[in-house]
Symmetry: C2
Amino acid sequence: MMITTKGRNALKVMLDLAQHNDGNNVSLADISDRVKESQKYLEATVSSLSAAGLILSARGKSGGYRLVRQPEEYNVAEIICAAEGTLSPVSCLDVGCSKAGGCLTLPLWRELDDVIMNFLRSKTLADLLK
Amino acid sequence: MMITTKGRNALKVMLDLAQHNDGNNVSLADISDRVKESQKYLEATVSSLSAAGLILSARGKSGGYRLVRQPEEYNVAEIICAAEGTLSPVSCLDVGCSKAGGCLTLPLWRELDDVIMNFLRSKTLADLLK
DNA sequence: AGTTATTCCTACTTTATTTGTAGGATATTA
DNA sequence: TAATATCCTACAAATAAAGTAGGAATAACT
């Protein structure tokens, strides 16, 4: 599967943050309750989002996470990529392939990757909330 | 990865058959030599293509495989699907999900699936040979 | 009839990835 | 200093991907 639970959870968390985007921190415990995914499992995913600079985190009491931009300024591609690390439909594009030289199929995978990325870049968090 | 070695090998085999599409059977040993993938591993993939009716097989001496249509009449989507079984970017679409009811992300995955399938349906074997 | 070349079938193995869990360290606020 | 958070590291289980092995069935050609 190209997009795993990590990417999907990342998107769910971002949508939840967008729905509670009032300047206050939102704790992962609250998100986890609403999104109905294990808090512990979400931790790893959310920390990728934070490391990528997509959200701000605050530790300690009344800490939590919040968006750094408005929902319409996030596209889905950047969220999924931050969570998954990579997002390509075939491993040839990530890893490379020793037989890539005369490979008749490689250009197709590149095109497919473009089609996917362009689609996901065209969708914003705000679009999904409608 | 959405498209695994099975799907990619299936496409390579189909391209090889298209390049040797002279009415004679092409043995898997020959294909395997040219495509540089293990014959044993190719067997499983090719038998899916044959089961799906995309190619004809002939057993026994001077047996092998051949196309049943012209290269321009095969689209990539059907080849990949025959080999992979399914071809969707997220498991939600295959398996279903208990939380699908109010899921804000599910419509996105459906759209993404459409985008991918439409692209792959628009490409024929003949296109890849150019 | 027998030899050879081929696909077909089933089962197994290995490796990598996905999907989590557990426990505690660190920081912040009140 | 107590409570509430995030952060960090390591481990574990389940699933999927990638590849191997051995032989049975089939067909053609001597």
